[in-house]
C-alpha cells in the first residue's frame, strides 16, 4: 500500500481527523484597522445576485468583496516592503508544496488568554523545545493564545493607544526564521502584537518573516485541538495574480 493509499484509508476510518482552523467569513468579523489617514482593508461583503427570484428563478448566488487580509487569511512575502523583491513572493507564484506542511504549536494560552500584552520570547520558544524537541525545518510555528475564543470588541481589544493583542518580539521572530520555519501562524488579527508599532523594528513578524520569504497565517481558531507536534496543515491561498495574501480555509490533519 502506498503512503497516500494508507493516508486515504486512515482518513476513511477516522484514524486521521480533519480540524478546521478557519473562522466563518462574515461581514462583522473584525478586520485590522489602521490609523484613519491610511487606506483600509475592506471587510467581507456579500450582495445577492439572485435567490430563486426574478433575477434567477432556480438558483442562489452572490457577489462578494473582501480585502486580501480579511478574516482567516494568508500573508505572502510581498505583503511587506522587506519581501517585495523576493522571488515567488505572491499568492500565485509561491510553490504549491509550501501549502502543505507540518506545524509545531506553542501553547501560551495559560499566559496569553487574559493578557493582551503577552509577548512571545526566545525563552518561551526554548522552553517549548526543551519539552518537545527541536523544531524541524519547514514547519509552521503556530502561537496558541486562545484569543480565537474571544468575540467582537474583546477579540480586537482596541484601547485608546491601539490594539493590545499578543505577539512575538523581534528576537523570537529571528529565532523562528533561524529554525527554518515555513511561516508563523496566530489566532489574533495580525501575526504581530497589537502594540508592535512601538517595537524595534516595527512589526517584527511582518518585517523579518516576510523579509526572509516566510509566510503568515492570521485569525485562526481551534488551535487548542492540535497536538504540540504532528499536525499537517493544508493552507492554500486563492491564486490571486500578484496577490499579497488571501482569505482561505486552513485545515489541520491530526491523529485521532
Amino acid at each position: 500500500m502506498s503512503s497516500l493509499a494508507a493516508f486515504a484509508a486512515d482518513l476513511a476510518t477516522g484514524k486521521i481527523k480533519v480540524v478546521d482552523l478557519t473562522h466563518t467569513l462574515s461581514p462583522d468579523f473584525p478586520t485590522i484597522v489602521l490609523p484613519p489617514e491610511f487606506g483600509q482593508c475592506a471587510p467581507f461583503r456579500s450582495e445577492v445576485i439572485s435567490r430563486y427570484d426574478e433575477n434567477g428563478p432556480g438558483w442562489f448566488w452572490s457577489n462578494i468583496t473582501v480585502g486580501e487580509h480579511t478574516g482567516t487569511h494568508f500573508d505572502a512575502p510581498i505583503h511587506w516592503v522587506t519581501g517585495k523583491d523576493l522571488p515567488n513572493n505572491t499568492t500565485d507564484t509561491i510553490p504549491p508544496a509550501d501549502f502543505v506542511a507540518p506545524a509545531c504549536v506553542i501553547d501560551c494560552s495559560a499566559d496569553a488568554a487574559n493578557n493582551g500584552d503577552f509577548i512571545l520570547t526566545v525563552a518561551v520558544l526554548e522552553a517549548w523545545e526543551a519539552k518537545n524537541g527541536r523544531i524541524p525545518k519547514g514547519n509552521w510555528i503556530f502561537f496558541r493564545t486562545d484569543w480565537s475564543k474571544r468575540k467582537g470588541a474583546a477579540y480586537a481589544n482596541v484601547l485608546a493607544d491601539g490594539a493590545h493583542t499578543p505577539g512575538p518580539d523581534a528576537a523570537a521572530v529571528q529565532w523562528m526564521i533561524d529554525r527554518g520555519c515555513i511561516g508563523f501562524g496566530v489566532e489574533t488579527i495580525g501575526t504581530d502584537a497589537g502594540q508592535a508599532h512601538t517595537f524595534t523594528p516595527m512589526y517584527p513578524a511582518h518585517t523579518l518573516m516576510h523579509g526572509a520569504g516566510r509566510y503568515g497565517l492570521q485569525c485562526m481558531c481551534n488551535l487548542d485541538q492540535l497536538p504540540a507536534t504532528g499536525a499537517i496543515i493544508v493552507a492554500a491561498p486563492l491564486k490571486i495574480e500578484g496577490g499579497s495574501g488571501s482569505p482561505l480555509r486552513v485545515l489541520a490533519l491530526i491523529p485521532a
Binding site: 462583522d28 471587510p43 450582495e47
Partner: protein, 396 residues
C-alpha cells in the same frame, strides 16, 4: 388637538398612504421650490410691480410675461372661512372636517388657504408655504406668532414632521454628529434608535450613548436588512448621517469607499427601510413622515479638494431626487452641510458645521416640513449662489 400615541388596532387596515392632488403647472411648482426652502415666495411682475397669485405665465394686470419669484411680505388678514365636511378626494375624505379660508395678502392678492384652527375672519395672519403630502407647495395661514399649541393643528401636522411622539433612526451614532442628533431629537420628544457599525471598534462617546443602540452598518446589505427586519416597522423618521465627508486620497479605493458609505448606503436604506415607512405614511397623526439625508454641499457644487466625496454625494443626491415621487407621502429632506468641525477638516478655518448646529437645523427642518436646507454659512452661501445661477456657480 393631537391624541397621544397609542398602539394601532391590529385588526384594521392602516390608513392608506395617500397624497392630495399633485397635478400642477410648471409655474405653480415654484411654490414647492419656495416651500422646500421654508420661504414665502410669490411671482412679482418686473414691469408693473404687482404680486400675482395663483402662479401663472403672465401678469394678470399688465399682461407682461416678466414674472419673477421673489420673497414677499408674509402678513395678511383672514377674509372668510369655511369647513369642508365631505370631500370627493380619497386623501381628504378621512381627514375632514378641514378648514379653508380666504386671506387678503398684504402684498396684494387674495388667496384660498389652509387655515390654522385658531384663526377666524378678521384676524391678522402670517402666511407660510408648506409642502403637502404630494410634495406640492400650499399656502398655510398661521397665527401671527408661534403659539405653544400651534404644532398640534391636525392640518398643519400633515405638512410637517414634528419628531414629538415619533420614532427616529439616526443611522450613524459613531460620531459626535450622530450622537448630538440623537440627543436633540430625544429632547424634542422623539424615541431614538442609534445605528452603530462595527461595535467591536471603540469610538468617542460610546459609554454615554443617547437612545437605543442598534447594530447597523449601511455598507453591508445584510446588516441593513437585519436591522430593518427588527425596527423598520416602527421607525417614522430616518436621519441618515452616515455619509463620507473626508477629504479624499486620490486613490480609486477611496472613491469606492466614498460611494459605499454615501451613495450605496442610501440605496440600502431605500431598499430595506423605506418601503416600511412609506406604507405607514398615511397612518394617522404619528404617521411615518420623513427621510433626512445629511449630504455635503459638494454634492451640489463639486469641490476640487473633495473629488470622491463630491461624486459620492452627488450620486446620493441624484438617487434621492429620483426616488422622491415613488416615496410620497414621505418627505425627503436634504440637509446640505459645508465642512464639518471634525478631525478631517483641521486645516480649514471656520466657519465649520458643529454637531449642535447640524442637530438644531435638522430638528427645525422636520418641524417646518422643509425638504431643502443648508446648514452653516458656507453651505447656505453656496446654495444661494446655486439657486441664483447654477451654471455660473459650477464653473467657478
Amino acid at each position: 388637538m393631537i391624541p397621544p400615541r397609542r398602539p394601532r388596532n391590529p385588526t384594521l387596515l392602516p390608513q392608506a398612504a395617500l397624497a392630495p392632488p399633485a397635478l400642477r403647472s410648471r409655474q405653480a411648482t415654484g411654490l414647492a421650490v419656495a416651500a422646500a426652502q421654508g420661504r414665502f415666495m410669490l411671482q412679482v411682475c418686473d414691469d408693473c410691480g404687482r404680486t400675482c397669485y395663483p402662479p401663472r405665465e403672465a401678469c394678470n394686470v399688465c399682461l407682461c410675461a416678466n414674472l419673477r419669484w421673489r420673497d414677499v411680505p408674509t402678513g395678511g388678514v383672514v377674509s372668510a372661512q369655511t369647513t369642508v365636511r365631505i370631500s370627493m378626494d380619497p386623501y381628504f375624505r378621512p381627514r375632514t372636517p378641514w378648514r379653508v379660508g380666504t386671506v387678503r395678502l398684504d402684498c396684494g392678492p387674495d388667496a384660498v388657504v389652509h387655515l390654522h384652527a385658531s384663526l377666524a375672519p378678521g384676524d391678522r395672519t402670517r402666511l407660510t408655504l408648506k409642502l403637502d403630502k404630494a410634495g406640492q407647495g400650499v399656502i398655510f395661514a398661521l397665527p401671527p406668532s408661534d403659539t405653544p399649541d400651534m404644532p398640534t393643528d391636525q392640518a398643519l401636522r400633515e405638512t410637517t414632521c414634528d419628531p414629538r411622539g415619533r420614532r427616529v433612526l439616526v443611522t450613524d451614532g459613531r460620531t459626535p454628529f450622530g450622537q448630538d442628533l440623537a440627543r436633540t431629537l430625544i429632547a424634542a420628544g422623539a424615541e431614538v434608535f442609534l445605528g452603530l457599525a462595527a461595535p467591536w471598534h471603540p469610538f468617542p462617546g460610546q459609554d454615554s450613548l443617547p437612545g437605543t443602540p442598534v447594530t447597523l452598518d449601511l455598507t453591508d446589505s445584510r446588516s441593513t436588512e437585519i436591522c430593518a427586519a427588527a425596527i423598520a416597522g416602527r421607525v417614522d423618521i430616518i436621519v441618515n448621517n452616515a455619509g463620507d465627508f473626508r477629504p479624499g486620497h486620490p486613490g480609486l479605493d477611496d472613491a469606492r469607499l466614498a460611494m459605499e458609505t454615501t451613495y450605496l448606503a442610501a440605496a440600502r436604506l431605500a431598499k430595506y427601510f423605506l418601503p416600511a415607512l412609506q406604507a405607514r405614511g398615511g397612518d394617522g397623526p404619528y404617521a411615518a413622515c420623513a427621510w433626512v439625508n445629511v449630504l455635503s454641499i459638494a454634492g451640489l457644487v463639486p469641490d476640487p479638494a473633495y473629488p470622491s466625496a463630491s461624486a459620492a454625494h452627488a450620486a446620493a443626491l441624484a438617487q434621492i431626487q429620483a426616488l422622491r415621487p415613488s416615496l410620497r407621502p414621505l418627505k425627503l429632506i436634504t440637509a446640505f452641510v459645508g465642512p464639518l468641525d471634525d478631525q478631517w477638516h483641521q486645516a480649514l478655518p471656520p466657519p465649520k458645521v458643529s454637531p449642535a448646529q447640524l442637530a438644531s437645523a435638522v430638528l427645525t427642518a422636520l418641524r417646518n416640513g422643509q425638504e431643502d436646507i443648508a446648514v452653516g454659512d458656507l453651505a447656505r452661501h453656496t446654495l444661494a449662489l446655486w439657486h441664483d445661477n447654477a451654471a455660473i456657480t459650477l464653473r467657478r
